[in-house]
Subunit: 258 residues, 4 copies
């Protein structure tokens, strides 16, 4: 694999405020995911809410192939200018992986265009994530399903655009289902939403969950050395490729938007 | 057909500034489209940029089944609070039809999550819109293609999410192609983008173009009398549908976002 | 609603061989569905395996807007020539609704191009069909889910092409999930697969299930009065729409396929 | 790249019957494509119509990662038993790349479920294939479009299921458009249709066309080391994952299909 630079953003609030979460993730959720990805050969950087520009400066984003996002109680504290910058990088090819409660993050809602709402319940119930697409890069190396003994429930309807490819559907002990893994393309960028990851359970130590995240990073990495035109720009192609007949239509003088 | 209330928004700038456009559309682009739709039995209202709240107050939107959007040079003058309100109405079931240069409008970019960029040229060239999906409501009553003698060219890449259904592909005299008619679902709402409609050509008098817009309105009209959950809300479903085993997992006290 | 002619095919084997099924569906599964659809104002005809050409002659199919299919143990007894004929009618606009074990029917496998396999279990377990798309014609008039006290389980992976729109996902008491309602477009035709309907349970008397079937018929009905070209034919368009430059390329004499 | 075994099927009729085609492709179309792929490091094997079982024995298919298909006048001579075998291999993970007139081949029609019809014209006209998806593996290393000075025209409507991803749209000098590059997933297999390749033009010597085919092979290669269930089999999962309540429902003795 060619070099792949991953930036893991975690708002890093629960771990510092809540002793039980802090004990579970002593280096933060970003730390747990980061350790695994480093061991897999990725180049990893982390970023948290309280860092300047949330650690997501232009330089950092420009040097990021795939951005991983975990947030929950502090979505509203993320600066809109940073969100603009991330969106622009995604349209130009940076991958985005959104985990669990990141469904309500500004950046995910921005990219989806929807509310990204859902139903939820915290009852430590059993979850089983069924693989519905076994030939996608992201589901490689798995059995028919991943089982989590304790999870927060997320239930339908999940207000996102119909996925380009649906990868996982969750079964919950309490009676609900959820589209738990799905991908979308936006501009030159690839986006993967993956449901598991509640802060009070040791989900980011589960080897199958970590494997899916690593697969996701490999899939989301920008490939593009193809020429583009139209993504974030609206160039005036004055010179046609084919001769255009003069139709004697007088053009009005038109003002154009910026 | 049951009653269908259509609101046509037009920024209404070119018609007032440019005498040639004014002569072509003496009642404005909204007037031309509106006359046709009224004759087809729709309940039509119009709104323009300079009206208070651009004519798109909460009351108007609440009484709108389908919103049609034409804008070009004044996208940036549309108030963000109005855009928020329109997005919310779409997610709750209002249809949206975006015409021509509306591809760069705030509301369309908001709903798509992408830049909605493209390439363009003004050379009065010939355009032929090929029907690629002949069994969609929107393409009913047409021949194999619609031909426009003079059109502004829009070329790929068109930076939008892969359409849920692609309806039209345009051929341009100067050598380009474009995905000219496409639909997307967002929340409970239906969105239709339709490319033709440059202000300097009599496109909104073309019977096939008008027919497509009317078909689009019928298709985009909200159907939903189905119960929803998750769209614009994240309810806590504390009562499970199935009994959940007590696993003795102590819950951390979690603060939740608003 | 304009007139809509529905033909209900049922292999009609279980009802005659198995007294319990016969008692549950004394007029056959086709009879139970048919009674409901007649009461809804549809024009209904039924067809069964043992009829000549299975009751699906050219004349019958030509006079059918939507074909409903229920089969289970006798898929292999359906004549291939009849399957060819049905496929052709679908491509030309007839709707197809495939119920339950019809997933292995020749016509569904023909239209999908896949094996249409799945996993299953008969344990009278509870099923809950969650609506994941609340603004589709087929899900109108429902709550958030349909609950069936006893059902045969169908589990993923379901070997079908990714649906054009996914409408229902089932939760099963025994731990599985299934994409229970989905639609696909093929040629000018519309196809709806709907999972429930095991012959030993009174599922075709459930009002929500019947409502979904009726909604499906309305949705699948052919709309097309649009001109087509390419569907089941490959016409040679010798006359171009635009002038083609003579490039002095000598053409080899080519034999063409039929 | 790990080893990738490609089998190129060419009916190999035009090259032997028509001296001009024979001069253009002295080693056959399969030879021209094969030379390029060998130089790119793929393991290549070729197969032609007149070989026993068309060169596509079970052993050959079992040792094939990606099958490339070119056929035109002899589609009807391909044995149905071989088509069955290819379909089964695709559902189990073999990739399929269908070129040009292969759109009417038995295997492509089988996988699509549609007629795969289109409109066509032979007038040595100019074709321009526009890249509409610049971040797909298959479009890597290209400019905004590929231009072919002389091509057979294929026009819409192209009777195939809506592609999972649309990659190329062609512009033709004579006024038509066509969805020239598209992909579909079926079972565990990946399918790529690529339009160019008429036998009377030197299209399979064009470096961009060859690059797309090589990209297609890399993309279509089977990944799957994920466990599957349901693809080509319908196992009875008698042992549930969760306890099922005894509901006292008596089961009818049911006969099951094979």
């Amino acid at each position: 694999m060619t070099e792949c630079r991953v930036t893991i953003y975690n708002e890093f609030v629960h771990e510092q405020r809540n002793p039980e979460v802090g004990k579970l993730y002593p280096k933060g959720i970003h730390g747990a995911i980061g350790e695994y990805l480093v061991a897999q050969g990725f180049l990893v950087r982390t970023a948290t809410l309280e860092m300047e520009e949330h650690g997501l400066t232009r330089d950092v984003l420009d040097a990021t192939d795939v951005l991983i996002w975990w947030g929950h109680v502090a979505h509203h504290k993320v600066d809109d200018a940073v969100v603009d910058r991330i969106q622009s990088r995604i349209l130009n090819g940076m991958g985005l992986i959104v985990l669990h409660s990141g469904h309500l993050s500004k950046i995910f809602r921005r990219m989806m265009g929807t509310s990204c709402g859902l139903c939820w319940r915290e009852a430590a119930e059993r979850e089983r994530l069924w693989v519905v697409n076994p030939n996608h890069e992201i589901t490689q190396g798995l059995g028919r399903y991943i089982e989590l003994p304790n999870a927060e429930m997320y239930g339908e309807q999940f207000d996102v655009p119909e996925p380009d490819e649906l990868l996982f559907i969750s079964w919950f002990e309490g009676g609900e289902v959820f589209r738990s893994g799905a991908v979308w393309h936006r501009g030159r960028g690839r986006i993967f939403y993956f449901r598991p990851g509640h802060e009070t359970y040791p989900i980011f130590y589960n080897q199958d969950i970590l494997r899916v995240i690593a697969n996701g990073v490999r899939w989301a990495k920008f490939r593009g050395n193809t020429e583009t035109c139209g993504i974030e720009v609206c160039p005036n192609i004055t010179e046609p490729l084919e001769a255009i007949e003069d139709k004697g239509v007088a053009f009005a003088e038109i003002e154009h938007p910026q």
